[in-house]
Amino acid sequence: MKSVDILVIGGGLSGSATALGLVRQGAGRVVLLDEQLPSQRLSRGNFGLAWFMCKGAGNPGYAKWCRMAAMQWPDFAAELEEESGYNVELEWTGGAVHAFGEEQLQGYAESVSALKAVCGEAGIDYPVRILSRDEFSDIVPDMELGEEVSGAMYTEEQGHVNPLKLLAAMRCLFQKKGGEYHGSQSAHAIEPQKDGTYVVKTSRGSYQCQKVVVAAGHGSSRLLAPLGEKLNIYPQRGQLMVTERHKRLLTVPLLSVRQTPDGTFMIGLSSEDTALDTQVTPEAMQSQAENAIRLFPMLGKLNWVRAWGAIRVMTPDGAPIYTRLPGHENITVLALHSAVSLAPLQARAIAPWILGDGDDELISQFSNGRFHV
């Protein structure tokens, strides 16, 4: 039986970022197992926004967490690119959410004030402001705005990135730094041993581990049930569309429309409670197409080329779950969506915390136990 210091189960954005952080911390022998099941690869459904805006309403801890992650993104990306050789296509060009009509814009102004207050409470800033239609037009000069666009909420301090390149970069660098990566390998049981270690049984043999990190998305629940832990997650589908390539016109990513460096426009993103069904529906495609054309009429003439659905790992309050299992302090569970935005903290904050050297006060707010009221 193979003996490892830390076994990370789940090679998605969350697991890979954490595994990278662990090898960077010099955590000994770190092994990362990745099923590579196409239906579970949530990063394919990630819109690619490295954002803090709009996150954490009524939840100061989460708002602070998101803001911290965004602040570290440019540095994280530079380091990742230099060391892995992968271009993750980060463009730190800000971010906006457009409004149709004055009422919606007013609603945004209220939400910005609310979040400023929440962030203030958490001791962090929230550099978001409201743009009028003209001001919005100034930041997207090459895109003609639809008639109903009244303005937007906006910040300079975030951007967008290629989620799949990000995953590839982290996986590559993890291995370069001495981590062991195994694709097409599934874990099916975590068995506590008398000496405090864990035996993890997989499709290709067993591992004896000092610590285990479970970051397997919707696959995590089945590993935790025998240990008596019920993970508070539910599946939420997001559908998105991609167009053919077009000359680069839009550099600021919007919540529902962004243009990638390749020239394709990504349009999304829906939120539906549909259980584990990644099918794409004409209704959702139509909604998104309508919204995109209302915002930027020129998009109407572009061909829609690809669409897909991905199943988010959603929690009741939307914030991540970072939890040590009660009675099994050496088993850590990570369950979250928006793992692109949070990637820097996965590597730089969660990894040290797993090794016993992190901000317990902040991170303990995200325990799975917070839902048992």
């Binding site: 829906s270 939120s271 004409p282 209704e283 003439k301 690809r306």
Partner: protein, 474 residues
């Protein structure tokens, strides 16, 4: 406003035409959707408008299509041309685009007869202007009476390569050489299958006659050729290849490639039909019962799209699917279905006699897929074989993940041209059969659709309160 039919048939090639005709003749409400502007599919392309010279040149195998088209027109089946189906649901709903607008329609049963395509085989320079499929040249001849005007090289393997060569010879086209990758000596598996092929003397005679024409023409004909490459700056100017010890260098204005025919499976994969792998021919096809029924109750597959067997077999399979659908709809009882099916099944068996021999003779060999790193694999996104190998080297074992990182398969063709070779490369790197490398997930739209067309689409009164984003974002 949604329109509901008994059956929708997708494709107006031999399988689709036969299925539609049978169903309409049996009194069922059938809609035939075909993305081309003229019926006939590939093999009977433009047959209704073909001038006498074309009918004579392409022979009985082509003019036989006129019987099918006449029957189809007489049957009264509803037909929409230029109709591009872009999403099909196993529950019988489908979306299609026609003349700039998209519609959703539904049926109790859908017969997908979307046909086959030439096996895309990357070679260095295959994306140079002037390099096209041998079938493409055939299509241009049938549709537009066009013939290559300069020097042509034909390369690859399979009966259709030789058929196209013999057609071009008949038309007086200048052929520099035929480069067959088929080994000089027939592969061992072919030999025991030869006697069965002899039961179809007509088929063999056709083949012998074709080979004789090629020989008589004096066109250089090489066998066991490897390392084919197209060279040139703006268009193809020369073709190089290896034949035993000899390095061939041929000046050419056009290179016609053909490496066999494989089912066009996108529609089945979009519907998540259960797919099966045919190891000898190295292609995927929808798993079906004897009538063409897939694992989805309402979805049938007919024709070469269900498995490559040629035009006559496609016609018979279309008929069989129609009979079973008619039985399911209560139009004919089981015994009548069986009575009507018996002669068709007999014809199908008879037609199939030479197939195992031909399949074995021209079977694709794994060595053919040992590409150089610099060869372009994904034409749309310009991803090379080397790019794919690098990613597999980093631990990726599945084609969808390779696609996500390299963009291979993300272009407009949606992996039609790169999918097969991608699986071969990934499989070879992992010492697995290409079957184990995975299948690219196919999502709607099956063909690109302008966003404004989706936005304007009438989805009917029962569209659910689906998407809700923006301020819902947590």
């Amino acid at each position: 406003m949604s329109r509901h039919y008994d059956v929708i048939v997708i494709g107006a090639g031999p399988a689709g035409l036969s299925a539609s005709s049978s169903l309409a003749e049996l009194g069922l409400d059938v809609l035939t959707l075909d993305e081309q502007s003229r019926i006939g599919g590939q093999i009977y392309r433009n047959v209704e408008a073909a001038p006498a010279e074309s009918l004579a040149l392409f022979g009985k195998d082509y003019s036989a299509g006129l019987e099918l088209t006449r029957r189809f027109r007489d049957s009264g089946a509803a037909y929409e041309d230029c109709a591009s189906v872009w999403q099909v649901n196993p529950d019988g709903k489908l979306c299609y685009s026609r003349l700039g607008s998209s519609k959703q329609v539904s049926a109790n049963y859908i017969i997908a007869a979307t046909g086959a395509m030439e096996r895309p085989m990357p070679i260095p320079g295959w994306n140079l202007p002037g390099v096209m499929g041998a079938g493409a040249a055939n299509n241009l001849a049938k549709e537009a009476g066009l013939s290559p005007s300069g020097k042509v090289v034909l390369a690859g393997s399979g009966p259709l390569l030789l058929l196209e060569a013999s057609l071009l010879i008949k038309k007086g086209v200048s052929i520099a050489a035929i480069l067959e990758t088929t080994p000089t000596r027939p592969p061992v598996p072919a030999i025991p299958r030869a006697p069965q092929a002899l039961l179809r003397a007509d088929f063999l005679w056709k083949g012998i006659s074709m080979l004789r024409d090629i020989k008589k023409s004096g066109v250089p004909h090489y066998k066991g050729v490897t390392n084919i490459r197209a060279l040139g700056q703006k268009t193809v100017e020369a073709v190089e290849a290896q034949c035993g010890e000899e390095t061939l260098h041929l000046n050419a204005d056009m290179l016609l490639l053909h490496f066999g025919v494989i089912p066009n499976t996108h529609i089945f994969r979009q519907m998540r039909c259960r797919m099966a792998w045919k190891p000898g021919q190295r292609y995927w096809y929808p798993a079906c019962d004897e009538w063409g029924r897939t694992n989805h109750e309402r979805i049938f597959a007919a024709g070469d799209g269900a498995g490559v067997s040629g035009a006559l077999a496609a016609q018979y399979k279309g008929e069989l699917a129609a009979l079973e659908v008619a039985r399911c709809l209560g139009m004919i009882p089981e015994h009548e279905r069986d009575t009507l099916a018996a002669p068709i099944k007999k014809s199908l068996r008879n037609d199939a006699f030479p197939r195992p021999f031909i399949d074995a003779l021209y079977a694709p060999r794994p060595e053919q897929f040992a590409f150089e790193d610099s060869t372009v694999l994904c034409r749309c996104e310009h991803v090379t074989v080397g790019d794919v190998r690098k990613v597999v080297g980093e631990g990726v074992c599945e084609v969808n993940e390779v696609k996500a990182i390299t963009r291979c398969g993300m272009g407009p063709c949606q992996g039609r041209m790169c999918g097969p070779a991608l699986a071969e490369v990934v499989g070879a790197e992992l010492s697995l059969s290409p079957e184990k490398a995975g299948l690219l997930s196919i999502r709607p739209p099956l063909k690109p659709i302008p966003l404004e067309e989706i936005a304007a689409m009438d989805l009917g009164a029962d569209s659910p309160e689906g998407a809700n984003w923006l301020l819902d974002k947590k």
